[in-house]
Amino acid sequence: MVATDREAALRDRVFETLSRVADPEIPCVSVVDLGIVRDVRGDTVIITPTYTGCPATAAIERDIRAALDGAGLGDIRIETALSPPWTTDWISKEGHDKLRAYGVAPPSRNAVQCPRCASAHTEEISRFGSTPCKSLHRCLDCGEPFDRFKCH
């Protein structure tokens, strides 16, 4: 029971620490918001890459290591797991709000909404965008070009 409490406390501390680690390419959201940090098991934190070739993967692991060390959690190990594969369904509600405020349309199965004027009258310009996780769109009402987090 005591051990369980300690584990829960450690888990909270790890998540709290990592909720301040920004994604290197979309710095408005943290690695926790994006669902990259999956779990804490014993003394190991489980992380998962977004796309297999995402060039930010190495930077993310380095930033997580630095944050853990800085918070006195230097003995926590980092393990990368591919399964289950990352999905945008794991992006938190808070993450969606932060993305929208940053000018990136959050992933949604419905019509793509302009992050500036909220119009759903938008079109896709390019299925692939500035990072593997985004596509390019344009608002047909206010004219804003914007990135969209792809549903994945």
Partner: protein, 237 residues
């Protein structure tokens, strides 16, 4: 060499060589959006190759990691199919290659998702989501080029004509997937019908990549890709 090593090497080499080929477009594509798309697809494939070659290295058990397998193997030891090493040609030829490959790769990965080798099926489950994007991109462009202008149609037909002879190899026993052929044929002919094009007639296919018998193009590709590690072994950033 175990069958597991050979299987993982084939998967890794296909992805690596096509990823390297597509990266040649970076900064040269006809439009910025296409530049982004081709570079993104290349990146996905190189990511997949890193994982598959990692599994191959572990299966071999000789201490070779993904980088060692990518940069320190000679051309005769590569086991990719001939299709992926073919030159980019013009944009239409690149799309023809991608169209044939991504439709096949998606079916292959879907099958691997269901196998009991968890190291490979974990990678496949992740990669198959990425490849669905590649397939959609290639299919849309196949239709746009085929059903576009006389010029785009002629170029796409010429590209498809060049690439078609390498399709059979995707389904030979060494690729382990003759059973995928009917599903692939259906996909390909469906898209080509939408593009207003005939499915090319069967012809004698070129094979040999799975045995290390490559076209002359692969050696040139490797020269560029492997230059740094060969000139400065163990160089690091």
């Amino acid at each position: 060499m175990s069958e597991r090593f050979r299987h993982a090497i084939r998967l890794g080499d296909d992805a690596l060589v096509l990823g390297q080929r597509l990266s040649e477009w970076c900064g040269h594509a006809p439009m910025l959006e296409i530049d982004l798309s081709l570079a993104n697809i290349a990146l996905d494939l190189i990511g997949q190759a890193t994982h598959f070659l990692g599994v191959a290295g572990a299966a071999e058990g000789q201490g070779r990691d993904a980088d060692m397998l990518a940069f320190r193997r000679d051309v005769l030891d590569f086991r990719n199919c001939l299709l992926v090493e073919q030159p980019n040609g013009d944009f239409a030829q690149t799309i023809a290659r991608q169209f044939l490959f991504s439709n096949w790769q998606e079916l292959l990965l879907q099958e691997i998702c269901e196998t009991s080798d968890s190291a490979l099926s974990d990678i496949a489950r992740k990669a198959v989501k990425e490849v669905a994007y590649h397939r959609r991109f290639a299919n849309e462009w196949a239709i746009r080029l085929g059903d576009g202008t006389q010029e785009s149609r002629a170029r796409f037909e010429a590209g498809l004509d060049w690439m078609w002879r390498f399709a059979d190899e995707l389904f030979d026993a060494r690729s382990g997937t003759p059973s995928l052929r009917p599903a692939w044929d259906e996909r390909i002919s469906g898209v080509l019908a939408e593009a207003g094009l005939e499915t090319p007639k069967a012809r004698r296919g070129a094979t040999g990549g799975r045995d290390g018998h490559h076209s002359e193009h692969l050696g040139h590709l490797l020269c560029e890709m492997q230059f740094l590690q060969r000139a400065y072994p163990d160089a690091r950033w």
